[in-house]
Symmetry: C2
Subunit: 259 residues, 2 copies
């Protein structure tokens, strides 16, 4: 008797027509029954934003003919898409949620700004094994072919093994041809931050405004980090948790004079 096919929810933050999500859908269609619920427009940098003061639209769409998956396009954020999928659209809880493939890195501290990873984290809070995938190439013409083999392996292993409770995966893939990709490394998040430089301009009405631009500063020389792996030709896999408690700090804080 054939095993029941896994139900796979696909979302992203670059919008439902982005090349990255199309590549991800292609791989997922080889692994299970796919349902896509993704934003109707780019939502990069949305973090874990949700829509609470506005209406949400969610309509069925067909982006490419002859593909088997169901697809829904929503006015909401990536996190809204996951909530809509799980609570409104899908008949049962999916066996896997994948988000991406993001156009650009979500390694290191970028995880906290990332709509791609927030969608995966949201699914994680609902008890669904989840993975965010990102390619280190912002271009809309990025080549996703070399990523597919790695995406498939990591998704298959996740379906097979499950994930520890409270953990989702953050996968980043270097911008390299297939022949140069050395393999997969399980890593920790590098300790890094952004230093912004605001580009100050004046609008036609004479009012000052800014563009946010910044420089990524990695203070972490560890060879067990995602930044090291990516710089050295490896796909990085970081297990990410959404219990944000700094348990190691509790003892310290209990010595404070708080009464």
């Amino acid at each position: 008797m054939a095993k029941k096919k896994p139900l796979i929810l696909v979302t992203n933050d670059d919008g439902i027509t982005a090349p990255g999500i199309r590549a991800l859908i292609e791989v997922m269609n080889t692994l299970g029954d796919v349902c896509v619920v993704a934003p109707d427009s780019p939502q990069s940098g949305m973090g874990h934003a949700i829509t609470i003061n506005d209406t949400l639209y969610c309509d069925t769409v067909k982006v490419r003919e002859k593909e088997p998956q169901q697809e829904y396009s929503s006015s909401g954020t990536p996190v809204d898409c996951v909530k809509l999928a799980v609570n409104e659209i899908l008949k049962r809880k999916p066996d896997l949620c994948v988000s991406g493939v993001n156009h650009g890195s979500n390694s290191s501290i970028n995880v906290i700004y990332s709509g791609t990873m927030s969608a995966a984290v949201e699914a994680g809070t609902l008890g669904i094994p989840s993975i965010g995938f990102s390619l280190l190439d912002y271009s809309l013409e990025a080549d996703f072919e070399p990523t597919k083999k790695f995406i498939k392996t990591i998704a298959e292993e996740t379906l097979k093994n499950g994930l520890p409770k409270g953990v989702v995966l953050n996968v980043n893939i270097p911008k390299l041809p297939a022949s140069k990709l050395k393999g997969i490394k399980v890593c920790r998040q590098a300790n890094a931050h952004w230093e912004e430089q605001f580009d100050k301009r004046v609008n036609p009405l004479g009012r000052e405004y800014y563009w946010l631009t910044g420089e990524f500063v990695n203070e972490d020389k560890g060879e067990d980090t995602d930044e090291w792996a990516l710089a050295n030709g490896f796909v990085s896999v970081v297990p990410v948790q959404f219990d944000l408690t700094a348990h190691h700090a509790i003892q310290d804080l209990n010595t404070w004079k708080l009464s």
Copy 2:
């Protein structure tokens, strides 16, 4: 010789005119030199969103006469406000960043959706001791008087002791009169999640849309959690980290067939 006064950055996610931030400013003015950089409109549920595809405005404002602090109102998210303050407005790195007082809870899993906490986390990534404060009362008429004593104590202790590297504080305060508030408890984040119920409606043009509504589900019976503390009349203080690596899961993942 008088000690130099600490420089304190104040922000929030309910907008610069919200009663919660006015209460926070009042307390901070008793502790140091205050600079306010806050959103010009409510940004609840924005999580760690940043403005990367749009312009940012940031103008000096005077919300109340006769108050000593500098104030800036920005079109950006809470995280944008922190970036603008630190990189564009302030002459030196602040000694403390406080965000809030939020109108509504940011306990447990709410930390990942919260613009209030994301502002504090952003400042934390820049090496600034930071605290997010929230009162468990969504009303614009909420009474912030009972919160002030606790805010002052926690801010003073943070200025005195500093915070461990990579840690910021998430402070939640029950909606209780001063006489019923029992004290402060250092806690861990309760293990909880949201179960959404979407309210489906039809707009005047006949198109379906949704409102996000949900129910908070706490699966965690621990008496060391923020939910327990709040339900029992205590102010909860959770140390929050932005290294999201689930270090305990790395060993497990290294047994997977990833090559």
